[in-house]
Symmetry: C2
Subunit: 340 residues, 2 copies
């Protein structure tokens, strides 16, 4: 009797192992990629040859990321809409900017976590990289409402900032506008959140529960992976709502880029960044999953399949980098007055 | 010759020492008090017997302090107006609140750092302590625009928050509104910033330069210390603009409490919290110092005296507690919708 139980247990164990190993293989073949476990490999992956990293630049970028004085009002920082405490987003359907302006296209703030792995930035993919993106909201009138002139005057009016830029860039003299976005982007490049899912893809078959593995299998089998792939499980430009139109398409004027293509959002930490879709019109994850199946894959996902996928998505909750809230250098007499 | 030089040096040294030692004595007699160097003494001083501290409560309070979802819009946290990276204030003349409302009385956001040492909270001293104060802005329509009902629904909709409250208070069941402000206040009580000035008062006569010591002497001799005393160098209720009216009194409707008394702001970190006065109408420190002399002491401070006092005030820049930016628990289906 004991021997039979042992043998059954062993056989279940083997089946479980075989399933996990073949699932990892299938996941990789489907285009899913883990965040590298080795720091050296990861660091190479997240760096931009045109924006070399050093500790001075990272610290500076982090300070700028949290500094609301980059906005004309002095009230809005990068962290306002891409709140590192709220999954890198703001929990609103559409972001609120300068003078309490709801985003004119009713766009939902995308998370900054793992955005480094995207091939294009912004919902319409207009920015090739984080460096380019960082300059947009700072100057956009409905967001931070600053200008190149304001930002350069601001930075150059604060000796500590000037000094930090000189150290970060090995430069002297006046700080140019471009370096501000570059420093912010350097910091953003480090906002990577490895999860149990990565451990699993990296070979630790116990890192995901069997239920989560089943969810991953469904995620692959149903075709979600055709857009949500790569390290970010997203980040490329894809056609949107081709098979069936998105049920809330009328909310806001966003229709993608000139070809109707939309940048696929990452699924990492998706449980922390409701509401969903570019206009934030879907509030809960099961509804978002079903809607995606309907409009992108032309299928009706059952409650059971939806639940499986949701359980898998929860395993993508990652470990956030630890950030000590920065003491920002005080404004000086030369600092331009902020005007709410 | 050598002996003479030695003897002169020794005599200068002795004079310097004597000056410093007698200055410390004078400062203490004038009512100036150092932040205690001993943690045990400090901890006793900052604690509230009705709001006992423990690590669980401090962490929870810190999370709530940074959580913008305590506001109706989901956009404004305690840290928005009392930004721990900006000297505990917001750098604006008057704060901006819900729906971009400039504070109706055009009040300047007071720093939260060292507010634990105040005898009364808020410009008109209406709150006896930080616990009482913390509930005000959360509910005030022009600030965070929440309500007791909203806050309790919000907290009780997020299992991680409920769990953290239970651990902090050793309680079970639903979280009452009062505990929210209490937890925030417990965290705020720890926002103490010891400086070189404290080292000096605590007996290290080299902690302040001779110029800074001279500034402290002028600060005492001119009478600034008659209101700016205690640990906070401020924090009590005092008559305002009695001798000469404040030159910007017309800006905003604030005229103090029912007796015209105003809560004296701390001078700690004052170099980081421009603009100055209750309505933020004075932008630079020398002007603020001179205006204070004029309206509170009835004297015209010379440029030299003003400069000495400013140099002393700079020595009050303190070491801020290191705070790891918190990961906030995600909203759930039960969390009330935020509405910007």
């Amino acid at each position: 009797m004991k021997r039979i139980i042992k043998s059954v247990t062993l056989s279940v164990l083997l089946t479980t192992q075989t399933f996990a190993i073949s699932l990892i293989d299938e996941a990789k073949k489907s285009g899913l990629i883990a965040i590298p476990a080795e720091n050296k490999v990861l660091n190479k992956l997240i760096s931009n040859p045109n924006n070399y990293m050093n500790q001075a630049k990272l610290t500076l970028g982090m300070m700028l990321y949290f500094d609301p004085r980059l906005s004309k009002s002095g009230l809005i920082s990068c962290n306002t809409c891409h709140n590192l405490g709220l999954g890198g987003s703001d929990g609103m359907s559409a972001s609120v900017g300068d003078k309490w302006t709801i985003h004119p296209k009713h766009l939902n703030s995308p998370t900054v976590y793992n955005a480094v792995f995207y091939t294009r930035q912004s919902w319409d993919g207009r920015n090739p990289d984080l460096e380019d993106q960082a300059h947009g909201p700072i100057q956009a009138k409905p967001v931070m409402a600053s200008s190149k002139e304001y930002i350069t005057t601001f930075i150059n009016s604060i000796p500590e900032y000037v000094d930090r830029f000189h150290k970060a860039y090995g430069s002297t003299g006046e700080i140019p506008f471009e370096q501000v976005g570059h420093a912010i982007a350097a910091f953003e490049r480090t906002l990577v959140t490895p999860s149990r899912y990565d451990d699993f893809l990296n070979g630790n078959i116990k890192a995901l529960t069997q239920t989560e593995q089943k969810g991953l299998k469904t995620f692959i089998d149903k075709g979600c992976v055709s857009c949500h792939n790569g390290i970010a499980l997203g980040g490329t430009m894809q056609p949107f709502g081709l098979l069936t139109p998105y049920k809330h398409i009328e909310a806001g004027s966003f229709r993608g880029d000139k070809n109707g293509m939309v940048r696929v959002p990452t699924l990492r930490n998706i449980t922390e960044t409701a509401p969903y879709f570019h206009n934030g019109k879907i509030e809960v994850l099961p509804e978002a999953i079903k809607e995606m199946g309907r409009i992108q894959l032309g299928i009706e996902l059952s409650d059971d399949e939806t639940n499986q996928i949701e359980i898998f998505l929860k395993s993508l909750e990652g470990k956030k980098p630890s950030i000590v809230y920065p003491a920002l250098p005080a404004s000086t007499k030369k600092t331009p007055k902020i005007s709410p």
